[in-house]
């Protein structure tokens, strides 16, 4: 899902480019390598801007439109950078019936952004996700790798304050 509020200019480093080239050289000949390459590329850069997609295209000989097609098909691939703190709220069924919709609205209200966007200072990005598998803790949200469970909307300001 694209972040609509801002575009950050691409600032890849030489090291990142070398890391990417190394990955491509390793994986190039395995069948169906495009997705693993793109996943590694996203690990290296944090997202897949057109510059990175072009590099993959040049190195593998895969047409750019094909890479773009794959990048936009899967929700895991991001064309815009994420915030420093990636918030994802589970809107899977188990969390939804326990009120995760209200948690999501509360975050939208406090951060002033909606699904797939990030705050102008690049600090928080907000996404909904489908089931992190911690249904016993519903409703659940994650900030980077930290899981917060059994939430009520009033918990949100206190949790966000930890990241300010």
């Amino acid at each position: 899902m694209a972040c609509k509020k801002q575009t950050v200019p691409f600032s890849g480093t030489k090291e990142q480019e070398e890391a990417l080239k190394k990955v491509i050289a390793e994986l190039k000949d395995t069948p169906g390598a495009l997705m693993p390459i793109m996943q590694k590329a996203q690990e290296i850069y944090g997202y897949l801007p057109i510059e990175v997609q072009t590099m993959i295209s040049d190195e593998t000989g895969t047409p750019l439109e094909k890479i773009y097609g794959v990048a936009t098909f899967y929700s895991q691939f991001a064309l815009q950078p994420k915030g420093k703190y990636k918030i994802s709220v589970c809107l899977g069924t188990a969390c939804y019936v326990k009120g995760s919709g209200n948690i999501f609205s509360k975050l939208e209200e406090i951060l002033g952004i909606t699904n797939g966007e990030c705050t102008p200072d690049g600090k928080f990005s907000l996404d909904s996700c489908r089931c992190v598998g911690a249904c016993g803790l519903a409703p659940v949200m994650m900030i980077n790798d930290e899981v917060y469970g059994r939430l009520v909307p009033d918990d949100i300001p206190g949790i966000l304050a930890k990241y300010k």
Binding site: Y74, T93, V97, L137
Partner: protein
């Protein structure tokens, strides 16, 4: 030799609630007490009772500690592990009876369960292959390679009656037979671990708790159909499962249980992982294979079926994780053993992920034919807060809602379809009187609209039109003609979509229309949401007689919609009210209600 083993759950649920910190503290305290040569701490897979995590079991006496906190660890170590005095206060209270501590398997949650696919979950350390081998692991592969022909293997599966656990329920043996019959220089065995159905997490638990069982079963499949390469397509959202699979594959290669010339029989088989990238449609078999090929995961028309032309155009079989988890046991115990469990057409057991408005959220494995009542009331412990059961949703976005009138129906593939739902991968979400069925149908349609891959028109456009009508209904703007249109659209999409995702997308609407039509009509005719969920149809009102004029609600209201002076009854201005419900939550006198 250790005199005591402490098993701590390392599944995703318990990890999220802090089990890694528990393990760290345990090891620290054990060293402090000098018990490191007597007590071993082992990180296991999921025990199923996720609602009570983090979970910890102390053997040999099998004391079951639930919701363990780091602060409790010093006491458990010094009292229980050092002095042998169980800390009863911290035990799962179902195991504490007047007569003393009873075994976990005698509690309501475990009593009716029968663990086949989850056999090793919560029992062994999934990161150590020797523990898997110690519980009979890879014995089935050895038996198959040295004593059985491929046809015999397939016959055993056919006789067992095992059907695909991913949702469709296609007989596994038949799938293998078809793939074997097709000649090809190269064939593939795939495992579908792209568990996209929200609320279902049994496949993840198997991968996290017992990854080798999947590898072993895939190797058996490879031998049966004549393939030597396998792929596991696993969700990238399951980092723990991915890591344990990687460890398992590495260890299996070291032991030569994967690779060349397995057991010296000349049979070669290897497995690679492919990570999904967050597309629900990739759970559909042809889409999954397209995705492994590195393309947009769009489904292909069938025929040709994967058994003829699958991955990279070669004959392929694809089974789900839970299906594979049953196979080594079937080989070792025989098809009759497996067929002795379950109902006439659905054999064996099924794992369900209980979630929603139920006490014991978590994973349960029950013989097919267990009734919904047994699952929800006995195993699940019923509905919290004394609320009334309204419906159970099975099958995720492809399934339907089962109302109370079918509470006593034995759960199996065919019964669920006959009442308008489906088994799906086994998510079972319980809903109570506070859930609006129109809202739930809309929730699932939002999911389908977002996840539709866009290849075929009925699904891409049709589901969007359905969502628009449902949104109109929840806003009180729909007419009865809209309801007819909605129903017509359902059947059209069902009949004309390309893949399973589209064909089943209308199920949540059809099943709620079938059992809860009165709720739809209340939204349309009376502009009322009986469950009090649909915000556009609600208004919040303050009861003048109960209000003490404490002003708390007025201070809480984010919209400034509550007017009143101290010690006098307040009123809500309906034009300003944003219906967030914050006032009702805050009121100490129960004076605010929804209408």
């Amino acid at each position: 030799m250790y005199r005591s083993h402490v098993l701590v759950c390392g599944g995703t649920g318990c990890t999220s609630s802090g089990s890694p910190q528990i393990i760290e503290k345990l090891n620290e305290e054990i060293i402090k007490q000098g018990l490191q040569d007597e007590v071993a701490v082992i990180q296991t897979g999921c025990h199923g009772l996720c609602a009570l995590g983090p979970i910890m079991i102390v053997y040999p006496d099998a004391s079951f500690y639930s919701m363990v906190k780091v602060e409790d660890i010093p006491e458990i170590v010094s009292e229980h592990l050092l002095k042998g005095r169980v800390v009863t206060r911290l035990l799962y209270k179902e195991t504490v009876t007047a007569a003393g501590v009873r075994a976990l398997i005698d509690t309501d949650f475990y009593k009716k369960q029968h663990r086949v696919a989850l056999r090793n979950c919560g029992v062994i350390n999934p990161e150590v292959i020797d523990e898997y081998i110690g519980t009979g692991g890879y014995e089935a592969l050895g038996k198959v390679l040295t004593e059985m022909t491929p046809d015999e293997v397939i016959q055993v599966l056919l006789d067992s009656g095992l059907r695909g656990r991913g949702g469709g329920g296609f007989p596994t043996g038949l799938k293998w037979k078809l793939a074997k019959q097709n000649d090809g220089d190269q064939k593939y065995v795939c495992c579908n671990a792209d568990e996209g159905d929200p609320g279902a997490f049994m496949d993840r638990s198997v991968l996290e708790g017992d990854p080798h069982v999947v590898l072993e079963a895939m190797a058996i499949a490879g031998y049966a159909i004549g393939a030597n390469q396998g792929y596991i397509y696993v969700r990238a959202e399951y980092p723990i499962a991915v890591e344990r699979l990687q460890i398992a594959i590495k260890q299996a290669r070291e032991y030569n249980l994967l690779g060349k010339d397995i057991f010296g029989t000349g049979f070669d088989f290897d497995i690679d992982l492919r990570l999904g990238a967050g597309a629900f449609v990739c759970g559909e078999e042809t889409a999954l294979m397209t995705s492994i090929e590195g393309k947009r995961g769009e489904p292909r028309p069938r025929p040709p079926f994967p058994a003829q032309k699958g991955l990279f155009g070669k004959p392929t079989i694809l089974n789900n994780v839970e299906t594979y988890a049953n196979i080594p046991q079937i080989i070792l115990n025989g098809p009759e053993w497996f067929a002795s469990m379950g109902t006439e057409k659905s054999k064996g057991t099924k794992v369900f992920a209980l979630g929603g408005k139920i006490h014991n959220t978590g994973l349960v494995e029950i013989p097919m034919g267990t009734t919904l009542r047994e699952v929800i009331e006995e195993i699940g412990g019923g509905i919290p807060d004394g609320k009334k059961f309204k419906a159970a949703q099975t099958g995720g976005p492809s399934g339907g809602c089962i109302p109370a009138e079918h509470f006593d129906i034995p759960i199996d593939y065919d019964n669920l379809i006959s009442i308008g739902s489906m088994m799906g991968s086994g998510g079972l979400i319980v809903m109570d009187e506070d859930d609006c069925m129109v809202d739930i149908a809309k929730f699932f349609l939002e999911f389908t609209v977002e996840e539709s891959c866009g290849k075929c028109t009925p699904c891409r456009v049709g589901t969007r039109r359905m969502l628009e009508i449902l949104t109109k209904i929840t806003k009180g703007q729909a007419t009865m003609e809209d309801l007819d249109k909605l129903e017509e659209l359902c059947y059209y999409i069902k009949d004309n979509s390309l893949c399973g995702l589209g064909q089943t997308a209308p199920n949540p609407v059809l099943s709620t229309l079938r059992y809860f039509r009165d709720e739809y009509e209340a939204h349309i005719k009376e502009k009322r949401c009986p469950a009090g969920v649909c915000k556009a149809l609600l208004s919040y009102v303050i009861d003048r007689d109960k209000c003490r004029g404490c002003t708390l609600c007025a201070r809480t209201c984010p919209a400034g919609a509550i007017i009143g002076t101290v010690k006098n009854p307040h009123v809500i201005d309906p034009d300003k009210c944003v219906k967030c419900g914050a006032c009702m939550e805050k009121c100490r006198f129960g004076a605010i209600y929804k209408k």
